[in-house]
């Protein structure tokens, strides 16, 4: 059922007439867009569908399309006479300039809101392009805090940026450590070299001081890194209580494997936005993943809607990664904005989004409260791989299991 809806509402074919495109390009004339059924609300999805980030992009598309199908099945945007949502698919090919060009293309096609873009660099370029037309732009995944700090009134983000995640990560680690009787005193951070890793590492170093945990070494590594043995040995000789990786999937998994191969002993691997920590990792390498901790966007496993969404995703043969529900949540947020605005007028929708109070029940979030486009009700939780599943271990009000800390 949901699958057929999914297909039907993803009409890119009439989004821009292909032959029209060629003709107009070669002849140099013409207005390209083709008349659309006026009632549809068009949401542009810009993700890096090809290139190194193709997997998260596919997950994001999947989550967003699931949300669109669900909202349509539940009667669409009711204040607009049951207007249906329609996805316009865009591929940034991991490049900022292509991402920005996709915004232009979608604007021509009469897009009413855009969400994306996974990579912060592309998100910055695309949201700036959208700002020129005042198109509501929801960042589904994109951790750079610069995204919402440029004073653009059309850019919103429901999930966290790394600033808020670093703060939550420090608080959660403080709580876990306290409950265990404060065994952990030292941390080594291993981070990738771009803005995400560098920025997060810096904030973590500060934030951990408040919890009496000291960062004794910070190791920056290149993307890609082929060989983590030196890093592992360096960690081993420094004997930190906690290893804190902040990096992308490939390096995350490689580092975890190498730490194990070099028999590095520590109380916990406590990653922040650990790129490789997900259900697939737990399935593929259970003996490595066991008891590793990550702080990330995570769904609320005690919510019925969260459980249902996970079951649906897995029934479709997909892993329930954070991209799925972050994209779902972003669509919900936009739909709620249209619902309350009752129109697709951009100013009205942006105003409605800015005053959003939507409560996303499948996330461990409080009520949405937008401050300069950032949701202040968002929260990252600490999750741990335990016996082949992933459990929330902090903060305590969402915990689904007790932390195994220090690990044995």
């Amino acid at each position: 059922m949901s699958k057929s809806i999914l297909k039907k509402n993803t009409s890119r074919r009439n989004f821009l007439g292909g032959t029209a495109a060629t003709v107009a390009l070669t002849a140099g004339v013409g207005t390209p867009w083709i008349a659309q059924a006026a009632s549809n609300v068009k949401i542009g999805l810009i993700h890096p569908a090809t290139g190194w980030a193709a997997y998260p992009a596919a997950q994001l598309r999947y989550g967003a399309q699931m949300a669109i199908a669900d909202i349509n099945a539940a009667g669409g945007i009711k204040s607009m006479g049951g207007a249906q949502l329609e996805a316009l698919l865009g591929d940034s090919q991991t490049k900022p300039e292509i991402g920005a060009a996709e915004v232009e293309k979608m604007n021509e096609a009469g897009v009413h809101a855009i969400q994306g873009c996974y990579q912060s660099a592309v998100g910055l370029a695309a949201s700036a392009a959208a700002a020129k037309y005042n198109i509501p732009f929801s960042v589904d995944v994109g951790v750079s805090d610069k995204l919402v700090q440029r004073g653009l009134s059309n850019v919103f983000r429901m999930a966290d940026g790394y600033g808020r995640i670093a703060r939550d990560a420090a608080t959660n680690l403080g709580e876990i450590n306290r409950l265990a009787g404060n065994p952990a005193k030292t941390v080594i951070i291993v981070h990738e070299e771009s803005e995400f890793g560098t920025g997060t590492a810096k904030l973590m170093t500060e934030a951990l001081k408040e919890h009496n945990i000291q960062v004794i070494d910070t190791i920056k590594h290149a993307n890609p890194t082929r060989n983590f043995d030196n890093v592992a040995l360096r960690i081993k000789s420094a004997k930190p209580d906690i290893v804190m990786p902040i990096n992308y999937p490939g390096e995350y998994v490689l580092l975890a494997k190498t730490l194990r191969q070099q028999r590095v002993d520590f109380m916990a691997s406590y990653s922040v936005l650990g790129g490789g920590f997900n259900f697939k990792f737990v399935d593929d390498l259970p003996q490595i993943a066991e008891n590793m901790i990550d702080v990330n966007h995570w769904y609320n496993p005690s919510s019925a809607s969260g459980q249902a969404m996970r079951a649906r995703t897995e029934a479709d043969g997909n892993y329930f990664t954070f991209e799925v529900y972050c994209a779902y949540m972003s669509v919900m947020f936009l739909a709620d904005g249209f619902e309350r605005a009752g129109t697709t007028d951009k100013d009205a929708v942006n105003a409605a989004l800015a005053s959003s109070t939507i409560d996303v029940d499948f996330m461990p979030y409080g009520k949405t409260e937008m401050v300069n486009g950032q949701n202040m009700g968002s929260r990252a939780v600490a999750i741990q791989a335990q016996k082949g599943d992933v459990q929330i271990i902090a903060p305590s009000e969402y915990a689904s299991a007790k932390a195994v800390f220090p690990r044995t």
Binding site: T22, E104, S194, E195, A222
Partner: protein
């Protein structure tokens, strides 16, 4: 010389058409696509001077682009130096880098794929350095503020950037147009055809090649400023991406190396093919498979590039082969 006047006439009409085009295209998306086409054609043209005319293939053309982008952006973020002047320093920076790279590699007699590979290595070296030093913002990158205005070389509408890119492209065509008619250009072609013979004829091949790579570097530098002011963010993977190096040679070879309009034709055709393939196919990967197939078909059936296919007479011999030049004697 009627041929020459005809040529100028068509050139003039074509230029005029491109200048007035934005008044007929209301679609900003197409304007943006055309902007990217001009931008790629411009970069391809810079590659063409060294690769197509002088016969020196480079795999690291992006280094001039990235360096230019950093020069004007750092000047802007640290000293508030307006990019409209910064672009000239970016040009100088690119030319200077060209001088260094050209001097080091040509003086040691590197040719063919050896030269191609050393440019790749330089680009990679600069990427790693840009990641590690403070003044480039390191891996965090540089954020530029949006402040449209001519002094910032930023424009509120895509049409502004369209003209910016168009001017760059016109300049690049003018440079190559001059090149084809100058003594210097003839010397470059002589080097391409047979470097040893050129040397024997009294051409200072080292100097010529260094000039050529400096022109390429200068052009790349300006492109960097353009990109930085259009997209307002720069980090080492963007500034020194191998994809851009490849795109430069791709559009030029597909369009026709050593021809004035090769890069433009190549950029236009490849961008259009890419857009159309993307448009008809949503499934990730499939559209690029089609793109790759079309690329191979073009190369397979039009071995002299698109321009070459339309030319009746073969202007140049088939000696642009890398192969011959790789057999370098021991130093």
């Amino acid at each position: 010389m009627t041929n020459f006047r005809n040529h100028l006439y068509f050139l003039f009409m074509g230029a005029l058409a491109l200048i007035i085009l934005p008044y007929f295209i209301s679609s900003r998306f197409y304007i943006d696509v055309l902007t990217l086409i001009f931008f790629t054609a411009y970069l391809g043209q810079s590659w063409n001077i060294l690769g197509g005319y002088a016969g020196q293939f480079s795999f690291g053309g992006v280094m001039f682009f990235g360096t230019g982008a950093y020069v004007s952006s750092i000047l802007l973020t640290t000293f508030g130096f307006p990019p409209i002047f910064g672009i000239f320093l970016a040009i100088l920076g690119g030319a200077f880098l060209g001088l260094i790279v050209g001097y080091m590699s040509f003086r040691s007699g590197l040719r063919g794929s050896y030269f191609a590979l050393i440019t790749l290595a330089f680009a990679e070296l600069l990427r790693v350095l840009a990641n590690s030093v403070e003044f480039t913002g390191g891996g965090v990158g540089l954020f530029l503020t949006y402040a449209p205005g001519l002094s910032n070389l930023q424009f509120e509408t895509p049409v502004g950037f369209y003209y910016f890119a168009l001017i760059l492209m016109f300049i690049s065509i003018a440079i190559v147009y001059w090149l084809e008619r100058s003594r210097f250009g003839a010397q470059l072609v002589a080097i391409r055809e047979n470097e040893d013979a050129a040397e024997a004829l009294g051409i200072n091949t080292l100097k010529c090649k260094i000039y050529a790579i400096m022109i390429m570097g200068a052009m790349g530098g300006a492109a960097g400023t353009f990109y930085a002011q259009k997209y307002l963010y720069l980090d080492p993977p963007i500034a020194y991406s191998i994809h851009l190096s490849v795109e430069m040679l791709l559009v030029t070879i597909v369009g026709g190396m050593g021809t004035i309009f090769g890069p433009l034709v190549g950029a236009f055709v490849l961008h259009t093919v890419n857009e159309i393939a993307r448009h008809f196919i949503d499934t990730p990967g499939l559209s690029l498979i089609v793109y790759g197939l079309i690329l191979i078909v073009i190369i397979g059936y039009l071995p002299n590039g698109l321009i070459g296919a339309f030319k009746k007479k073969e202007k140049k011999s088939d000696s642009t082969s890398l192969d011959k030049k790789t057999s370098r004697e021991d130093p």
